[in-house]
């Protein structure tokens, strides 16, 4: 069959058009598709803002990346974060507004544990999937079906890595008496829960176990008592401001226990950047770490370096990203925004995240984590488990530098 020149040109034009149309349509469809709207509240002002902003940055970077890679279910994502001003009541009322008035498609988890625990009760009522740090173990014992700690910030698990590390030190070299001070709120109390059990396993008597309310005006009485009792292990289950006061009081009173465990204060970059050498050698726990080998961590470290001039991605940046990552994987695998479908899927699969592989049990919790960290020369190093070590632990803690 012979084709005329006109027919050839016509066919070529039609062919080219046919090839081009889907691309144009696809791109246009993505751009014009109704975005998937994700909403949540975070403390962007007030006492918890220092960490809240990092969670927000984690969420926003995740959204930016998802959109760059073609969106979620082929649709762009749009993140709305409302500032709850560090108030639990506001966190609940604003989230309810996002669910009922703004009708967001998916929920982003709140922070801190008190806000998350209250929001967990709310989302249960509206049957919305909620992935966050949770409100420590108590919030996961309430039988909620829609809430997940992905990963959680679990006070009860916090020192597990430290107990295991200490149990590997020859018994003769271990601390012999422990003193603990704990902030009198759900966060501190959760960390305190593990102390009795952990110390019992190590056969270390707890000679002082004090609670304090915030704000802590003076740490000297607590520290001087611990010193007088001969405690060579000091546990400070507190936040940054009280942590700073405690460390300075220990230095001023020249109190040198073999090991200092600090629950929460070390989790923000300021422990290293602001406190300086006085914050060194403190042991803590974590659920995620910038030196873990999981896919995505290196990229987030790079982002932190480029955007905020930090050496490593801050912990709460990683947390925010991880929570959004779990939600993304659930939606992509379930191919649905239906929360009833998502919640079923959440308990049936294993999620591959920057915190490692997570599989949720009936309570909405993954397996307990067992990482221990130590601040060494201004770096938060992983010291346990041995296979994940980024530095050799320093034990006993050297005397204060004068």
């Amino acid at each position: 069959m012979r084709l005329s020149r006109r027919q050839v040109l016509k066919s070529a034009a039609l062919g080219a058009g046919a090839l081009a149309v889907p691309r144009v349509l696809t791109h246009g469809a993505w751009a014009q598709a109704r975005p998937i709207r994700l909403g949540g509240t975070l403390p962007l002002t007030g006492p918890f803002a220092d960490t809240g902003v990092w969670v927000e940055r984690g969420y926003r970077y995740w959204a930016e990346k998802v959109n760059r890679q073609g969106g979620l279910l082929g649709r762009p994502v749009e993140v709305t974060i409302l500032d709850d001003a560090s108030s639990v009541d506001r966190a609940v009322s604003l989230l309810e507004r996002l669910i009922t008035v703004d009708r967001v498609d998916l929920i982003l988890g709140g922070y801190p544990g008190t806000a998350a625990a209250a929001q967990m009760a709310l989302v249960e009522r509206y049957r919305k999937v909620y992935i966050s740090m949770g409100g420590h173990m108590a919030s996961f014992r309430r039988g909620f079906k829609f809430s997940f700690g992905g990963p959680p910030l679990m006070g009860q698990w916090w020192y597990e890595g430290a107990w295991r590390w200490l149990s590997n030190i020859p018994k003769a070299q271990r601390p012999t008496r422990a003193a603990a001070i704990t902030v009198n709120n759900p966060v501190g109390m959760s960390a305190r829960e593990s102390i009795q059990d952990g110390l019992k396993r190590l056969e270390i008597p707890l000679v002082m176990d004090e609670l304090y309310d915030l704000p802590l005006a003076s740490a000297e009485p607590l520290v001087s008592r611990a010193r007088a009792l001969g405690a060579d292990m000091f546990l400070a289950n507190g936040f940054f401001p009280d942590g700073v006061l405690t460390m300075r009081a220990m230095k001023a009173l020249d109190y040198n226990p073999k090991v200092i465990l600090q629950a929460i204060g070390t989790l923000i970059p300021e422990w290293v950047t602001q406190l300086g050498p006085d914050g060194d050698y403190v042991v803590s726990g974590t659920a995620i770490h910038h030196r873990l080998p999981y896919p995505g961590i290196a990229e987030l470290n790079q982002v932190a370096r480029e955007r905020w001039n930090l050496k490593w991605a801050p912990l709460y940046f990683l947390f925010g990203y991880a929570w959004a990552q779990v939600l993304q994987q659930a939606v992509e695998a379930a191919k649905s925004l239906s929360h009833a479908v998502l919640v079923r899927y959440m308990r049936e699969t294993t999620f591959k995240t920057i915190a490692g592989e997570l599989r949720f049990d009936e309570r909405g919790l993954p397996a307990p984590y067992e990482y221990a960290t130590q601040v060494i020369n201004g770096e938060v190093e992983l010291i346990w488990p041995p296979g994940r070590r980024s530095a050799q632990p320093v034990y006993p803690k050297p005397p204060w530098r004068r």
Partner: protein
Amino acid sequence: MAQVLQALVTGLLTGSVYALLGAGFSLIWGVAHVINIVHPALAVGAAYAVYLLAARGVDPLASLAVVVPLFFLLGVGFYEGVIRPAARRGGDLVLVSMVLTFGLAAALENVLAAVWGPGPRVVNVAYTGRAVQLGVLALPITHLAGAGLATVTIAALYLFLHKTFPGKAVRAVWQNPEGAALCAINLRQVTSLTYGLAIASAGVAGVALALIYSFSPASHLMWLVFVFLVVIVGGVGSLVGVVVAGMLVGALTNLSTLVIPFAWAPFFLFASLGVLLLLRPTGLFRR
């Protein structure tokens, strides 16, 4: 015994810093009948100024040369630009000023967060974490410096109010504004001066607090608790009262922890102060 002494002395040292923060707040409340909620937020602002200067090698104590005059002018400007126009519009000045200054505190917190970020800051100097050893007592140098600043500032304010003519005019306005006006005392100038001094003292308190505590834009909410505590217990407008109340709060908090669990210290403190206020509802030193 060593523990008792340590608790008592560190309690008195930190208590004197609360007194310093409360002094200016009490002065404005007493003289101008304004509950200046922004007072501790201004102290936080001064702490940031100290941080900024310390990062450039300026010792916090030397930064007073900048902070005091700056905050004095700020106080005068605050009165002329904010409080006076509000007062001229009439209404219940106590209530209006409380709402107004609360709003200003929130705005200042947001400005500080926008400039510095919401994260905490710590001022580290060569003597941070060091102590003067007096027998069994270890006195942290930062606490000693804070107490020293409190002593000098409150003494200067006291001498000014009791020994100088402008100071006596301030007291006259506080006790009887109409009578003071009849004696040709310029109410505006006197009130303006009061604000200048009070806010300058907030600046000094910010320096003292920055030496001892970490701070963030939201720290003023925590410090406000101590301010109200010492001013109400001491008696509104009384410098002596603020000093005694500050010391009392510091000493009671620390000493109580030696005989009762630390968690009960706030209960013991507030219960004691509650009893005290039942006996003297106007505070310790307000007549």
